[in-house]
Symmetry: C2
Subunit: 343 residues, 2 copies
């Protein structure tokens, strides 16, 4: 099964509306043009708008109006963009959405500051919630962003720490713990929880939403790991094999370290012990070959599909009792999209 034209149209519509709202928050006379040029760059490159679309659709599925969730959806897109900018500096990535990364275009200092600016504008967008939702609900939404941000910076620190410490003793559970922090909170849990809080005026059962968000976000991240290895750079928009070159502890790499015979495992360890700049393209290709030989890519792909099946089940629980609306169908179809997407 693949996603329908209707789903893709709805994704484009939700994502486009949130991107426009995000861009409107950048249109502020208090912000210097020196800031706005780099800060607006990634937003102008499009992007899928998955995260704000999930927030808007969840709000609608829970009976809310789209515009009630719009400042939050815009803030989600702005925070996401801020993180992309800082991640790209941290990983020294070359490409984002098929074009040079922000720090390659504007220098490292300008990019770090632009990321800070995007985060500032994101938080400013949340101030509109007070008027729109009342102080009580607005405060709960703010709290969700606060929790998300703590989880995300902690996950990011943990991933960097694992690379710094040269960890090669990790298991899939460590990986799932990590991506719950570094990916799921901002990619799926926050959009779902905020959308449901607003749509239900605070009456939602967040525990079921959290389970669904974890499976959905994990399916997304595992697909991302696989795409970084096997995807077409032209479609995917990031440099191929970047995760491996950086030494990220993906599910594929963790599988390889466990499955390889001692001699091959030692080769992988030696590769990971090199400073990133000293890892040659030949060496990267050799590790990719090992990943295919040992079935590590196929393992991660199948693991991701299993998680997506769990997501499909937990969706039914999280969205139980809600009428069959296009917004509800959209969220259901996102599960399939997460594992089928090629960018």
């Amino acid at each position: 099964m693949s996603t329908s034209a209707e789903f893709r149209e709805r994704l484009a519509s939700f994502g486009g509306a949130a991107r426009s709202a995000a861009a409107a928050y950048l249109d502020d006379d208090a912000l210097s043009p020196y800031l706005l040029t780099p800060a607006g760059d990634y937003l102008g490159r499009g992007g899928k708008g998955l995260r704000p679309a999930l927030c808007l659709a969840t709000c609608a599925a829970y009976g809310g109006r789209e515009e009630e969730a719009m400042p939050s959806a815009a803030a989600i897109e702005l925070v996401h963009t801020a993180m992309l900018v800082h991640d790209d500096v941290e990983d020294d990535s070359e490409l984002r959405r098929g074009r040079p990364t922000l720090h390659r275009r504007y220098g490292r200092a300008g990019a770090i500051n632009a990321g800070d600016g995007l985060a500032v504008v994101a938080l400013g967008a949340l101030r509109d919630n007070e008027r729109l939702l009342g102080t009580r609900l607005a405060s709960r939404v703010w709290s969700e962003f606060d929790v998300m941000a703590r989880q995300t910076v902690s996950g990011q620190a943990r991933e960097l720490g694992w690379m710094r410490d040269g960890r090669t003793d990790l298991c899939p559970d460590d990986y799932l713990d990590l991506i719950l922090q570094k990916t799921c909170w901002y990619t799926t849990l926050l959009p779902l929880r905020v959308g449901a809080l607003i749509g239900s005026r605070g009456a939602v059962d967040l525990a079921a939403m959290t389970r669904f968000g974890f499976f959905l976000g994990a399916a997304f991240q595992i697909r991302d790991d696989v795409l970084n290895l096997v995807g077409s750079q032209a479609v995917y928009g990031k440099e191929a094999l970047g995760d491996l070159r950086e030494g990220k502890r993906t599910l594929v790499l963790i599988h390889l370290l466990a499955a390889a015979a001692p001699a091959d495992r030692e080769r992988v360890r030696r590769f990971l012990a090199l400073p990133p700049a000293q890892r040659s393209s030949d060496q990267v290709e050799q590790i990719v070959a090992l990943m295919h030989d040992h079935g590590s890519v196929a393992f991660a792909d199948e693991f991701g599909r299993g998680i997506a099946r769990a997501a499909a089940q937990s969706f039914e629980e999280a969205f139980a009792g809600l009428p069959g609306t296009p917004a509800r169908w959209f969220v259901r179809d996102l599960v399939t999209y997460m594992v089928e997407r090629d960018r």
Copy 2:
């Protein structure tokens, strides 16, 4: 006139209380140890605590209790620390408070992420204001942080843009505009405005406070520019001449560009046109000599003293009608401190 022992004790007391409060906000089980080690590093190095001290004292001078302003003062110290971390990466500085900068110690990626984490924790601290001050006043305080952050990232972007564009046609007014944005908002305007808002329960005249804050912050920044040129590195805690090596458009440099004869001006321009890494220590020393020869350092020093006199006058207006309390005396004495300090 120099500051009294009483003033210095009060600064240590206010600053210490705010630093403890800031550290307590980092003590959160939701934050990974991988994040907390770098994030807590600069806070553990001490620092003057000028900014939170100004906020606490202003609140007290306006009749508030110190603890009512404590979450805001902690947030000010945390935001300031976050900025120091990002600034140090942006400028690739070597020293902070006499020890290696965070990115030299933990890597660039870890430092950028630690700065993000500090900003997240700062905003979280503001959530305590809802309970402490009520939603209405808490919302005004949040708004002050929002305005400050927009100004600061815009000022930072502008300064980076001036260096990128190789600007050598700037005048003191441009410089004052810049430091209003990049320094005064977070160093003096925010602490003063927030302290006064909380102390007066929102009844303060913020316009007079803003004038005072501008002069006070400008005196602080001009002193900083001068200390970077003539200060003792061991006392000052940052690498000497770092601003000049980076090409920062300080008041001293702007004066030199205007005052130098054509041949010397051309030398300065050639120096500024070099990429920072290609500026030799010999060249930096030669520019410093030109700055002394042309009276540029003395000019900035005198300019700073003039601004401090304006600050002393506007203090009387901003704190008019308040009882003569130790907190009020402390803020008055800060004016002298700003231009006398050697670190």
